[in-house]
Symmetry: C2
Subunit: 176 residues, 2 copies
DNA sequence: CAGATTACCTTGGCCGACCAATGAATGGGT
DNA sequence: ACCCATTCATTGGTCGGCCAAGGTAATCTG
């Protein structure tokens, strides 16, 4: 074995393993899951991420934009732009809130609602694919462990669901 | 309880649960994990995603860009632009490959190498935070289950590590 | 009631990620 | 030797995400 080979020598200590094998595996699995979801969503005419928005709209009826922001745990500007595109697509309708003139009420159109079965099919399809070969006990165990990890991370990341985001302003980003 | 309330009535059937609770939980956990990683990486002057690139460079020495693309499982254009920014930052050096005039050899600079302990600290810190309260058996179980899921998804998503991406061109994206 | 504060959304900028198309260099086939 | 297919990298476009700043409206306070 040569020491100056420009290719990974396979005996090199993996830097990833030195800082959290489970975290790395989690990121990897999530990435693959996202790719697989993106492929299926593409055939429905949706970009990855939009399905979450639509799910919330299907569940909740006319909602204030701020509720979506809080419930999805996204940035306000992200939601604004995403809704603009979804509105232009005809999947979503936006209108003023009579009770608050600065708020915006968002609602899924009939065409947007028609995507529901497709999106839910994508997710259940992915669920089935991901958990192939896992028995009921393994699935429950995975769900339980993911719940624990989520609870551990919830403290500082803010949960997407009910808790408002903690205002954690920190170091200024380098300009590179 | 009013039926026309614009707020989620909490008894509404959650659309997320109807299409894969584990998948949803996985996406949620991965998101929180990414947010937490991003916060810590910011203090090192890195954007989320760049740490993976640097890890590969620390492990492998001078590498062809195509190796990075395959090993990280990213798009070629993504790697190109990321490396341009990392080079402008001084974390990375790029030069021609004498063996192939169209290839580019990438290498971490000394300044880039100096980030290694910081990044590995971020990941191990995150690992510790995520797995708080989990015993060794639980951690091993989580790693095992994530490995199984990764194996299930590997078939169609292409693995980031050794396998080349499967060329899965599909439906044309909607223009919305 | 007037002024300051807060909440709600929008805009602009940046980066990671994808696809599509292009240009340059290599390699294989006849 | 030639042409053609493949590979390598770049550019341009789009979208999901974030942060920072700005503008309007509601609310809290003196």
């Amino acid at each position: 074995m040569s020491g100056t080979d420009p290719v990974c020598t396979e005996t090199t200590p993996p830097s990833a393993a030195r800082g959290g094998p489970v975290s790395i595996a989690l990121a990897r699995v999530a990435r693959m899951h996202r790719i697989a979801a993106g492929r299926r969503l593409k055939e429905l005419g949706l970009y990855p991420g939009q399905e979450m928005m639509m799910m919330r709209l299907w569940d909740c009826g006319p909602v204030r934009q701020s509720e979506l922001i809080q419930s999805l745990g996204l940035d306000a500007s992200t939601v604004t732009k995403m809704l603009q595109r979804l509105e232009q697509c005809g999947h979503v309708r936006r209108g003023p809130d009579p009770a608050d003139r600065r708020a915006v009420l968002v609602e899924a159109t009939d065409e947007g609602r028609s995507l529901r079965t497709g999106v839910e099919g994508v997710w259940s399809d992915l669920e089935q694919l991901s958990l192939q070969g896992l028995g009921p006990d393994d699935r429950a165990e995975l769900a339980r462990l993911l719940g624990l990890v989520a609870e551990n991370l919830r403290v500082e990341a803010g949960e997407a669901g009910e808790c408002p985001l903690a205002p954690g302003g920190a170091a200024p980003r380098a300009n590179c």
